[in-house]
């Protein structure tokens, strides 16, 4: 079994593994950390063989980094605020005006929504902020976890009736027997 997996991993790295088997292998790696680590090792070996350049890292390299980060002291005490003096109020006001001017002008293309390089994430946030709050409709989104409760059959039925592509990307539909379903002998 191990030999077979090793061979598949090797074929995968050489791009010789059939697509469906490659997908199966990748899915297996999601749950098998040892297999994923093996792929990393093979990739490193392959890279070294092909390029003759390889920086060998100690196996505990990342663990050491994590340990050092954890050893960093945590600064929990609040920093004392410097006393604001009246003489600096004008300076703060002038600086604020300058910053506001720059920010306001830079945000103009986003408002127009035609910036070709606009990051979708940024754009979406800007649009979201512009949506007025709905009266009498407080929205509380409850993320549903499969472990919290069984998927309600009625909602399942609605889901299937709503979305035709659910056949493609919803594996839970099999349990649903609609009126349109029948058994083939």
């Amino acid at each position: 079994m191990n030999d077979e997996l090793n061979q598949k991993t090797s074929q995968f790295l050489d791009d010789e593994l059939p697509h469906d088997q490659a997908l199966a292998l990748l899915q297996k790696m999601r749950t098998n950390a040892a297999l994923a680590e093996k792929l990393q090792r093979y990739a490193a070996i392959s890279h070294a063989l092909k390029t003759e350049q390889f920086i060998a890292l100690r196996p505990d390299f990342s663990a050491q980094i994590s340990a050092r980060l954890e050893a960093e002291p945590a600064y929990l005490l609040p920093r004392p605020k410097p006393a604001a003096k009246r003489s600096y109020q004008w300076l703060a006001l002038a600086a604020s005006v300058a910053v506001l001017s720059v920010v306001a002008v830079r945000s103009l293309p986003l408002l127009g929504q035609h910036s070709p390089n606009a990051n979708p994430a940024t754009l979406q946030i800007a649009q979201h902020a512009a949506v007025p709050t709905l009266p009498h409709s407080p929205v509380t989104t409850v993320a549903r976890s499969n472990t919290e409760q069984p998927l309600n059959a009625r909602i399942n039925d609605y889901l299937q009736a709503h979305n035709g592509s659910a056949y493609a990307d919803n594996q839970q539909l099999q349990s649903m027997a609609r009126l349109t379903a029948y058994n083939q002998k």
Binding site: S137, T141, Y167
Partner: protein, 331 residues
């Protein structure tokens, strides 16, 4: 001190002028943006044509709510008739065929065949309206550079919502065939809600039509599409761009009473509204029905109105679901 004040005042003025100067080219090139919008729309038109007229097949990864479903996909055309075919690579093994508004899904393990009439849908990959002008009210469409998908060069088309009541999308179109290689749907915070992408794609001269196994008995009529005006409810108002595209009155749950189902669409996003008598049936959700809930990236809200249970469901933000639910009026 006066010198310092003047210094910062001048600094602020200079900053303003500099910022205007930096943005001047983009402000002047308003016509360029309009051109990009036009190109984006043209690219989508080309995509729709390519999707309808080419024979192509490949492996498509459907990703939704963190779940991956790889499927073999093919699209065949013969004398103007189209057929889409999906074959799951993982359990539960199933085969899905879309043909002339009908979707048939055969589950291999149980030999269960599910047949649905879906005249309002055209593709498993991406559903576009017949008339792209339908998107104008709610979306801006523009080109966003070039990238590669599955080792194929692609043009990126961004479909940006004009408000926060629907999700944005990006479509990667093959430069060679104008087919959609990848589709991403973004939530309001820019997170990917849903993704579909080809891991490999081949365009062929001909592809065979897949014949679903013959039925041993005739399945009951799945859906009787009639005019939405016949629904037992209406809407006092709808979010911009949304129109009623489909209505059916049929039993959705086995051996139960008919359910009114109205489908709204803004051209890309769709929202279903279901109404059925409450009788003694329990509410459709076990926990709180106060707020909008989420299943597989689809938001839904269910509440009682008089003697009826109204459920609103769709791939739109929770605000939109609640807005539509609040505007349902019994006739």
């Amino acid at each position: 001190m006066i010198v310092v004040k003047w210094f910062f005042l001048i600094l602020s003025v200079l900053s303003t002028v500099t910022a205007w100067a930096e943005n001047l080219p983009s402000l002047i090139s308003g016509s360029h943006s309009a051109g990009q919008l036009q190109n984006g729309k043209q690219a989508l038109k080309n995509m729709v044509t390519a999707m309808q007229t080419l024979n192509y097949q490949g492996t498509v990864a459907f990703l939704r709510d963190g779940k991956l479903e790889p499927m073999r996909y093919s699209h065949a055309v013969n004398n103007g008739q189209e057929q889409e075919h999906l074959l799951s690579l993982n359990s539960p093994l199933r085969e899905v065929v879309r043909e002339t508004g009908k979707v048939s899904c055969l589950y291999k393990a149980t030999h269960q065949l599910v047949v649905d009439q879906r005249p309002f849908e055209r593709s498993f990959l991406v559903n576009m309206p017949t008339d792209l002008a339908q998107l104008d009210a709610a979306y801006d469409i523009e080109m966003q550079g070039e990238e590669s998908v599955a080792l194929l060069p692609a043009n990126v088309v961004a479909i940006k919502p004009k408000d926060g009541l629907r999700y944005g999308r990006k479509i990667w179109l093959s430069q060679q065939w104008a087919l959609p290689l990848k589709v991403e749907v973004y939530g309001l915070s820019g997170e990917i809600v849903e993704e579909r992408l080809f891991t490999e794609l081949q365009v062929k001269d001909n592809l065979p039509f897949i014949a679903m196994p013959p039925a041993t008995n005739t399945p009951p009529a799945a859906t009787n599409a009639t005019a939405p005006q016949q629904a037992a409810f209406t809407f006092s108002s709808l979010p911009k761009g949304f129109t009623e595209v489909f209505f059916s009155r049929q039993p959705i749950h086995v051996a139960e009473q008919p359910v009114d189902h109205v489908l709204l669409s803004d051209g890309l996003a769709s929202v279903s509204i279901y109404m059925e008598p409450r009788n003694n049936t329990p509410p459709p959700v076990n926990n709180s029905t106060e707020g909008v809930q989420t299943i597989d990236a689809i938001n839904f809200f269910s509440h009682a109105q008089g003697n009826y249970q109204i459920t609103v469901m769709g791939e739109v933000p929770p605000e939109t679901i609640r807005l539509i639910a609040d505007n349902v009026r019994l006739r």
